[in-house]
Symmetry: C2
Subunit: 229 residues, 2 copies
Amino acid sequence: MLNSYSSADKVLLAVDCIIFGFDNDGLKILLIQRDFEPEKGKWSLIGGFLKRDEVLDAAATRILNTYTGLNDIYMEQLHAYSEIDRDPVERTISVSYFALINIENHNAELIKNYHAEWFPINDAPNLIFDHNEMVENAIKRLRYKTSIKPIGFELLPEKFTMRQLLELYEAILSKELDKRNFISKINSLEILNKLDEKDMQSSRKGSYLYTFNKEKYEEKLLNNFVLNL
Amino acid sequence: MLNSYSSADKVLLAVDCIIFGFDNDGLKILLIQRDFEPEKGKWSLIGGFLKRDEVLDAAATRILNTYTGLNDIYMEQLHAYSEIDRDPVERTISVSYFALINIENHNAELIKNYHAEWFPINDAPNLIFDHNEMVENAIKRLRYKTSIKPIGFELLPEKFTMRQLLELYEAILSKELDKRNFISKINSLEILNKLDEKDMQSSRKGSYLYTFNKEKYEEKLLNNFVLNL
DNA sequence: ATTTATTAATGTAGATTTTACACTTACATA
DNA sequence: TATGTAAGTGTAAAATCTACATTAATAAAT
């Protein structure tokens, strides 16, 4: 009977984390080499099992930390994957989570100690189980999110140039954007502070640095703005 | 250890179905009265447990059919809910699914036999567990979906008037729409067939009936159109 | 001191899309 | 044949989006 708890089947519930990162080389994804069977040695998303006394969000955070040392990463739930044989060992349903982080802010050392590695999004190895599908879906969501939130700022250093911001969006959307139109659209959101300071790395002229204005952003967010790039 | 299947905790996995329907009285939701403890007699989403040899999509379909007799309803996965005590009997994670159906096409008799009932979306009873939250999130998704798919057609009779279509969208978005602008936006999609036939119920003049042109719609869908109402 | 090379910064006109808005038409009923 | 009711229809102004090229600032080289 359906209305009976006792006769219902229990299953393993896993969480898999899709961590996107950005640095000067573009958009990347964080993967680990499995250190246990099955598929030991193959590349995989960062994953683990939900504990009985833990909510899914907490499991995702714990698992990410366990395998990478990363802390305080806000992840968003994406989708539950439930194909019968997706994990050959035992019936396992997996819930995917994703996040976007700034690679440079997140101690590369720690990640190294844990055997996690960044791969360019367009040059990543084949993954175990249904992890490739999970990543594809996460990329779609990431693209969608750029249109409703200025999500990219989390991926940049605190002070950044317009060019960096442009290149970030180009990497996420994988298309070229018109520089002038991009700048005026971003400016029209009024969520950036233009500093007096310039970044002199990139050119002789130097380019102005900006910071993200969190207060103004929160304000905007209430109005459900849309950003068409 | 995380890398051990045998030591991982197993949990119950449930599915809850949020079924939206539309008829001349507006947008409704399908609920049932629990016939077992806990919360027996209270109103609830249509839900049940995943079986070991079943994928989530199939479980949602089976459970919906078991409690309502409804068949061939395409549902879409929404979100996994995992609060520790969301179900007081036993640790249960629930994955929500939602669908939109045409109330008149789906034999009210069958639903009656199964004690399921339609409630106006704005006048539904309080629900058990976290089901209210599930419904709220489903409504948000429903609104979003109107902007990227002409999703509403599934809710109307095969032949419908522009007014019916307009009222459907107004119910989903819960805002008034300009009649002329609505019609021209819908027409510009070129996914309707205007029939020679008129519906004489609504007025002396009568209003033209339309059908949904599935082929043209499939064509459009490839181009990821957006419908800004 | 002057030239050169490099990237940053900036504005606009035309095209497209969106919005706001009111009168006429067709028909059944009285 | 007059009346009442909802259906059907078009446009001008505003807003947004797109495509596009020149000048400015500076460091390095001469």
